[in-house]
Symmetry: C2
Subunit: 740 residues, 2 copies
Amino acid sequence: MNVSALLTSAGINTVVCGVLFSLYSVLRKQPNLVSVYFGQKLAQVNSKRNDPFWFGRLIPSASWIVKAWEASEDELYVNGGVDAVVFLRAVVFSIRVFTVAAVICLFLVLPLNYFGKDMEHKHIPEEQLTVFTIGNVMEGSRWLWAHCLALYIITCCSCLLLYFEYKNITKMRLTHITASHCYPSHFTVIVRAIPWVEEESYNDTLTKFFTDYYASSYLSNQMVYQSGAVQKLMSDAEKMYKMIRSPHMDKHCVPRFMRCGFCGGTAATSFKILTDEPKITRRESCFDGSDLRKKECGAALVFFRTRYAALVASEALQSPNPMSWVTDSAPEPCDIYWSNLCVPYRLLWIRKIAVVVASIFFVIFFLVPVVFTQSLVHLDKLTKMFPFLKAITKRKVMEQLITGYLPSVVITLFLYIVPPVMMLFSTLEGAISRSGRKRSTCVKVVYFVIWNVFFANILTDAAIEHYQVSITKLGDAKHIPNLLAKAVPTTATFFMTYVLTSGWASLSVELIQPFPLICNLFYRFILRNKDDSSYGTYTFPYHTEVPRVLLFGLLGFTCSILAPLILPFLLVYFVLAFLVYRNQILNVYVTEYDSGGLYWPIVHNATIFSLVMTQIIALGVFGLKESPIASGFTFPLIIFTLLFHEYCRQRFHPVFRKTPAQTVIEMDRKDEHCGRIEDIHAQLQSAYCQFRSKSLNLHKSTEHNKIESVLADSIETGDIVRLDDLEYIAPAVLGKRSIS
Amino acid sequence: MNVSALLTSAGINTVVCGVLFSLYSVLRKQPNLVSVYFGQKLAQVNSKRNDPFWFGRLIPSASWIVKAWEASEDELYVNGGVDAVVFLRAVVFSIRVFTVAAVICLFLVLPLNYFGKDMEHKHIPEEQLTVFTIGNVMEGSRWLWAHCLALYIITCCSCLLLYFEYKNITKMRLTHITASHCYPSHFTVIVRAIPWVEEESYNDTLTKFFTDYYASSYLSNQMVYQSGAVQKLMSDAEKMYKMIRSPHMDKHCVPRFMRCGFCGGTAATSFKILTDEPKITRRESCFDGSDLRKKECGAALVFFRTRYAALVASEALQSPNPMSWVTDSAPEPCDIYWSNLCVPYRLLWIRKIAVVVASIFFVIFFLVPVVFTQSLVHLDKLTKMFPFLKAITKRKVMEQLITGYLPSVVITLFLYIVPPVMMLFSTLEGAISRSGRKRSTCVKVVYFVIWNVFFANILTDAAIEHYQVSITKLGDAKHIPNLLAKAVPTTATFFMTYVLTSGWASLSVELIQPFPLICNLFYRFILRNKDDSSYGTYTFPYHTEVPRVLLFGLLGFTCSILAPLILPFLLVYFVLAFLVYRNQILNVYVTEYDSGGLYWPIVHNATIFSLVMTQIIALGVFGLKESPIASGFTFPLIIFTLLFHEYCRQRFHPVFRKTPAQTVIEMDRKDEHCGRIEDIHAQLQSAYCQFRSKSLNLHKSTEHNKIESVLADSIETGDIVRLDDLEYIAPAVLGKRSIS
């Protein structure tokens, strides 16, 4: 691939991005699509406004970019919770690091690479891209110290930034914990594996245990019921209701769109008959009838009088049999994943093992499309092997399209099925919270993406490029660094196009939201339904976006000194990502649950991995280029990076695993001081509700709409979203802002 | 090596063992050597008895074997604590498993191996040992199902036994925890990394923190002082004392022998001037003068009112900064390792990393003697390479000695330096308890021994045996199973001699205790000192004995179906070990500290590792022998073993990491019920003493001697040891027996 092919690819992508971004700026102004681009909550307000048609609606504008740029971190926190801030910090971190890297590598390393060999240079557009990589530097060159210096600067810069980010995010997490005085989860412990005692219900056993051992701090408990049984009851009732329903209630019965069956979270069955009784209390809808007692699971939520008591109970080993009375700190009511609570605890360990095995098989199976994709890049070698391909590649444009664009499109499409599968795995694994499930999925996808995009591409490339590298040799640990050193510079071409297609295009897709858009249009024009108040709302897909950003970080680090041409494209990607994700967090996604910044350790670990990977590859390259001094200087850098990682793990990570006792005790004291502890206890009793009917949400929405519609008139369309009803959409920030 | 060479080796070892065992039975009857064979405590009693000479003293007898055999588990528990029982259970487990294995393999597998090929068999003594291994079975033999069946029976049997052992030991650990109501450690928490506040002593900061956050349960605290400073003070005082001492005090100033500088534990400097004031209290000797306040470390012992409060405080993350206010559950007073408490906590993580790196280097360096040793076995190949060796090996006896005996003697001698080095590493690692340090050493030695004895021998053997296997190929993961499959049957010869020499001989050495014996004789005949009341006492060297037993277990498992001839020798070893270790625990070693059975998880994990190793090797062998059915049946066995391991880890292991809250709360209740809580609190204040002077021990011993000498007259010499003063020598069983 030469420079002009790369520019073709860049051109195509820039045009595509430009068109899609403009399209977005137009589409977001259409009142009919507000439900797609401003989340569910505003859709309900605006459907009542009936905006008239004005010409400005059809002119692309950059106002959303300005708004996204101007939003402060506090606004993001209020709209997206700690997780959103952490995610954007990861993007900002990447922008900072790669700005430094781009400056150094483009002005110091790139010229050295280009003039690394005594050769006659062609006109730049016809120059092969390999001329710009370290592969062009002569063996034993005295200029390799510059590469080594660049590596030092990039590593130090990254570590410094990582340290301060970790420090700030730790502080943010602690502030988030102390921010509100009424998170029910602080007072709650999830108890699983309650032992079965003959002639006693689980509830009795549980009450006896906790009144016995935690007499002073135990408040009450709430059993978890087998969801299957109750769900059946509910669906039966719903069927019966449908048979007798009257036409005027029709509008509440629209189906709810789910972006992804696994991520949706909210129960798909809705119990609508209650809609007509807006004064129903939550308590009554909790289905705690006596016949349900038989359907109790061996799991329960136990409420304590103080946060500290709950913390202590959640961390202790309760019983001499570690397989009974297992306690965990509870997630928030919106975050809890009820159906997994019913899974018998004694099966969980085997489920986890099964999921690990399944994941490994899934990753292995996935090498097939990756190898297929990568082979397209090496079309010239393929045509030698399969001559019939020559006819297709005769045309210059065709060849450039196939080598420059098609591979990454294919791999991107294949990668779309990964997150749902991983989400399924995480569900089977037995996560008790939706945020925990998403985080677990995120980790799996990170592993997947690093293995299947990064390593698989490099290794298959190596296998095709150097025929002598047999597949068996890939298993040999000793060859890996040399192999990587040979393969990474040559694979950099593919990674550049990957950044252009997968990176840039994915951001446009993220902006346009094609799936909800198509659903909306299909719904509006095919089904002719004018009411769009009942679309599902989506939470931010951290499990796909975090791995994506981390993968591009890995590509950036490993290619930085070897093939610096990738850096400008990456920087453009990260800047666009910064704007797009800010916009999406502010406007599109609702925050139903929050992990409190638990994504940062994933980002940190992946970044350290990328750094060490870069250094190992550099070590291999310096070895191949016969520069013992550069290799000698790289080795201590690896040790330094690993030590830094271990230090951060010691210094910050425990706060992400356990809540500090000091913090919790001080919060308890403040409550006592303010005398609100009784209120909190009263609220606790009704905070968690396993079988909450949809009608409650609808009822709440109706009230909310009244408030919102008053507010809405005074505010411009694009801004309203930031002033949404926090009690409803962002329970995580409940304490920070009131409705007014 | 042929059968007669093996029998030569066995003969030599049997004779050596017989002689040494008889020698022991004589030596133990000598009143002068009671201090060597019955621990320090009885030495003091018997030196006053002045036994007359009687003829029976010179006749070898088997009475000690009978006594060791007859001792009950309770007696062992009282004398050696949980750890001793756990260790002996590991030996019993090995006896049971290898009895089953020996029966199956000798009667089913061995004949199949012997008649595996159509060949003319020589007279058995001249038969090569390889004829008895699986190497003699033809490729594609239909009889390999028998090997597979044997493997199944051995695995199932081991897993079943392991399960019940783990269950019983878990129960024993819990019983041990609840057995006594006055372990000070239950009420104590070690706090490290106390933050330094300007113009405040650590003590003030600590008191403020705990009275603030643990007001209801905090009792008091005791600071840890920099030992260097106080040690200097003490040695200065001692010097001064020596200058002015009077002759009649001489007898207390004998030097104390330490078996090993690292294991000794008790401070070597002794502050004798206090001996003349027998009424001194412990409190006064604690050197808590006001000038010591400046020498405070950032560490302390904090006492709580209840066990539960201490448990909770030890498990929680105290502060938002995980590097300050680090809490751990405290070891028992005799177990605590004071000097490591002063190590700044922020340095510990780097120390741990340094130790890991150092251990790895140590292991690599150690391959040199191992390779040298192993090359001796292949003398015939060596002589081809180095012809000058021929002159030495001309004599038949010489050759048999060199191939059969010398290699394992050399390796055994080399291995003697390993435990002290590993103990040094564990000390540097920052263990806060002596038992924890020993356990950590044990783990390191297990890794070391498995790598350097098992793998290194097999792989160097493979490298010498098959010249085509280059060292680079050893790094290749894919070749390992095949390589092991080829090498293990041929290395079995060496392992047999290793069991004979290292195994049998080590037991004789353990019985004779050469080092204390020589010290005693040197002391008595060269220094002409008649008083032997002041020899050091030794705790059981779990860090050398546990790895030894585990290594022989690994050898037994891996060789069982491949070279079953090793099993009878192993069985003899384990039976002897059973008798010898029981005798040693009952008579020689004192139990100053106890880890409460924490050695069992090490034994369990190592056994599972051995099983899986066996199965992988069998898989390789079945592959080489072209028996797809046997390979196919072995694969699920590996999965089953790993699942069983995971189950045990879930079911039992948490109890070895944390103390169950239920147990602790019930103990607290019992205390309250009995009204002894105040007494316990009073005792707590003086339980831990960092700078206890030796004089207290001497004083105690003097009192103890009076009681003991009364008792001693009525009891036969060999039995006395079991009735020792438990308060003094076995604080772990304090609650079980009183002096009377």
